[in-house]
Amino acid sequence: MSSRTLLGITIAALLAAAAAQADEAAPPDTSNWKCESCPFAKGYVAEATLGVIDPRQANATYGRYTGLDRSHLDADVDARGNWRDDSGRYAEYRLDDLGLDSRTGRVTYGQDGKFAVSLSYSGLPHRVYDTTVTPYTSAGSPTLPTGWVAAGATAGMTDLAASLARVDVGTIRKTAGLDVRGVLGAGFTVFGSVTHETKRGNDIVGMPFLVQSAQVAAALDYQTDTVEAGLAWTGHGASARLAFSDSKFKDAWAAMGIQNPFLPLVPSATRGVLALPPDNDARGVNLIASSALPANSSASLSLSYTELRQDAALLPSSTLPGATVPGAFDGKVNLAHYAATLGSRPLNGLSLHGRIAYDQRTDDSTPLTIAQVITDEAPGATLTTPRYNYDRLRLDGGADYRLRKWLSVGIGGDRLNTDRTMQVAKRTEDGRSWVRLRLAPLESLSITLKGGAAHRDASGIDLSLLPPNENPLMSIFYLSNRDRDFFEADAAWTPTETVSVGLKSFLANDDYRRSTLGLLSGHERRIDGTLGWTPSDHLSFYADGGYQKRDTLQDGAFSAAAAIWQALIRDQYSNLGVGGRYAVKRWDFAVDYSHALSTGNSTVGTIGTLGSFPELRTRYDSATFSVGYALSTALSVRLRYAYQNYASDDWALDNIGPATVPNLLSLAAPASAYNVNLLALSFTYRFGERPAAKD
């Protein structure tokens, strides 16, 4: 039989298999299916909430992300509603936290099965500190007060104490968007979106002058505009989606000149200039397709290509007299991703899945060779900008087979080969394999045990690519040989209809077996549990908790010899939560308590004489109680009280004033702490009617 004949048989058999798979019972005649008893939504339904929130003793840390960062009354305003008519036209809106910087809103107009247009907005405050202090004025172009007395050390800055003024550190991100979706028929949908995002505020920036540095609350003003458009198709057992996107980032501050508060080591270095993130552009195209295959199988693929561009004008190489711009930079990086997945359940009880993915980063930016001027003061080496490329091939897959109703066994693994340029290890090969058992000794109990091993091998070591003066014994941890073993177990148990219990644990050991310096080992342990009890539809309780521990050991040395110093770092974290809800007639009660504790212990020093840093410690406690009461079918009231306490000890921040460190003018950022009592009272009014239904 010729190859062509065999190929023909193959195609015919596959088509027959597909046809067999697609063979389904004929659909019934539904022309008389009126659904007269279906309470389809129509008309206008809405609810509006109005109230006040009083967060006593709130601060930046407490209010990051929510906007509740000041001790004053805030308005609690939410609204949502929707209108629908018989033809399927509808309008919906949802507006939350209108009285806070974290306000969000979405308004949509559309017609069912035809089109939808949405406008959205969200604010995301991220206040970090509200007690930081600085002698600099104008965050956009930080300047020291007239008459500033520069000194070789902070203690000599005689104007410092008098010049300090409070400066907040934090940002707010605001995003506005337009989304459009239209159904074209025959399974085609067209979609598009435009988003405009700004991020403004202050961020802490370190501004070094050789061996001295000043922390500055530098102004930040970012804007990102993104457009995405595409076409999607869904057919019987298949789908495809093609999308284009273009995202432009703009930074209002291309550079920031910052005055040197120290006596300059080079007389003219009274000012330094920082290059801030340059404008950039990311354009991409992405194709996703999937198809059902014979034998309960399905395959998908994803192809994407993105181009990153950046050609912002360069600064002079220093602020020193005579410094010039060393040329123009045409930055261009291409990112490619080609991947396919396959999932199959060819036999009863057998499931298979696999994936292959190839990622490539190609940096086509023209390298520049530039004589370095270190921190605008000292001449440094002449260096060529390294351009980093990689090729990554990832394969992973697994199989599970149900041997018995109560027992399944699974095996799997993955492999990741990465080839890089300009990094000390030209190639790393990561491999992982695992075995999994799933047991269901009782109908109400399932247990999963999974264990395995992984390894990473680095090859093509080229020490000439190490940074200048780097110790050749140093092993960069993500490019180093590593062995890992891991084990995880989880259990889910529902002893009764009303009780559920979950337990999950994980442990992993990492051994950087051939490293002399750098990370040598790591150990991670986790255990988490949850308990739920729902004695009735009106009453429920929960409790959950967890514990994590991570230890790492690393060695270091001043010269290319054996390790001289060692750091043993142990981080632990535990959390606990309990709560319950009770709803009866007009009343609705909820109570929650959460606790989290983290500790970090670092023991560092010359081998044999290690010393301990003070313990890093954070403690979080939060208790919330809320009660709601339905004054009528339309009007309800809710009272909420929340207590939150946060305390932390951090040797990097505690008692570090602006002049505590001789060669660091700091912002005196404190370790976070707060003790907040929040009281909120709100009324919610409902408009319109809900579909009639029996309770």
Binding site: T10, E24, S37, A282, Q310, P346, Y388, S559
Partner: protein, 318 residues
């Protein structure tokens, strides 16, 4: 006779494979639900709602599934209404008492095999589930109804604020991470798990929404997208080399606190190789070293650690 080429071997193997698949398919068809006996009801949802009319189920009419104007939805013109998802229900409707044959039901305790449940959803929702079959959720027999509530007006897993609670009910280890001192704004309801992860599967590592970790992170943190004149190699490769995106006890979601994190890669002669022992803290009595340890540690000076566009930024200080 010439030796068989690889192409010849494939050509001989493929028919065997295809015929085997065909046989499997036939077996599956024979073992599948008894289509010959299954019949749809005579009046559709009007039949079902005669009994199943409690408020919890009526919520479906406030969801996209309950829209008569959407020809693609189960209640669109000519569609199968309740039986579009629950399967043929005629026998179920006509049988009285406790011996009613079950229809397809959804959820962990539903009795209907997970694969059958999911097939009902996937038959329509292919557009958002292209990579489902090769995904970890599918491999772990997670049913759509384990996460989604199709009869409630607002599916908690599709709301940003309530989504994390759904995900951590299985991913227990992430429940505690939400409260770590440094975290993304999930606990505050401003971000969902699906802001980063494709719960229905993707071709990226850890079911990320973007092709790589770095592409994902820089889709929000666009200022770090670059390319920079001077790049920091791990930043171009994978943000997770230094950061713990699910939460950290260290500042800025770092895995370990500087200078120790930085010293896991940098040991150049001079200050990178120095011993930063506790006696170097201010007032510790040791040699000066506070600027390397307190406040931002290494980033007190190397503030452009994500990349620098300054001509003299090779050490990421400008």
């Amino acid at each position: 006779m010439r030796n068989p080429t690889i192409a010849d071997r494939w050509a001989h193997a493929m028919p065997t494979l295809a015929l085997t698949l065909l046989a499997w398919t036939a077996v599956q068809a024979a073992e599948g639900p008894d289509a010959a006996q299954a019949a749809y009801s005579r009046k559709g949802a009007d039949t079902c709602l005669g009994c199943h009319d409690d408020a919890a189920l009526m919520g479906i009419f406030r969801t996209p599934h309950g829209r008569p104007g959407d020809a693609r939805g189960p209640f669109g013109h000519g569609q199968l209404q309740c039986e579009a998802c629950h399967g043929p229900g005629d026998l179920h409707a006509r049988t009285k008492g406790d011996k009613k044959p079950p229809v397809i039901r959804f959820g962990r305790k539903a009795g209907t095999p997970v694969a059958v449940q999911n097939q009902q959803c996937l038959a329509c929702h292919r557009d958002t589930t292209a990579h489902w079959a090769g995904n970890a959720h599918a491999a772990n027999d997670v049913s759509c109804a384990d996460c989604h509530r199709s009869h409630t007006a607002e599916d908690p897993v599709r709301q940003v604020a309530s989504q994390p609670a759904v995900c951590v009910s299985c991913h227990l280890e992430q429940r505690g991470n939400l409260l770590k001192p440094s975290h993304h704004p999930l606990a505050e309801g401003r971000m969902g798990c699906t802001s980063c992860h494709a719960a229905h599967g993707s071709t990226a590592q850890a079911a990320l929404n973007k092709e790589t970790t770095t592409a994902l992170c820089t889709s929000c943190h666009t200022e770090y997208r670059g390319p920079f004149l001077w790049e920091h190699a791990p930043v171009t490769e994978d943000c997770a080399i230094c950061h713990e995106p699910h939460g950290s006890t260290q500042p800025a979601l770092l895995k370990t606190r500087p200078p120790f994190l930085c010293q896991q890669c940098h040991e150049a002669s001079g200050h990178p190789a120095a011993t930063y022992s506790p006696d170097r803290l201010p007032g510790g009595g040791g040699p000066p070293g506070g600027a390397y340890l307190v406040a931002g540690g290494c980033v007190n000076c190397h503030s452009q650690v994500h990349g620098s566009n300054h001509p003299s930024g090779s050490k990421l200080m400008r």
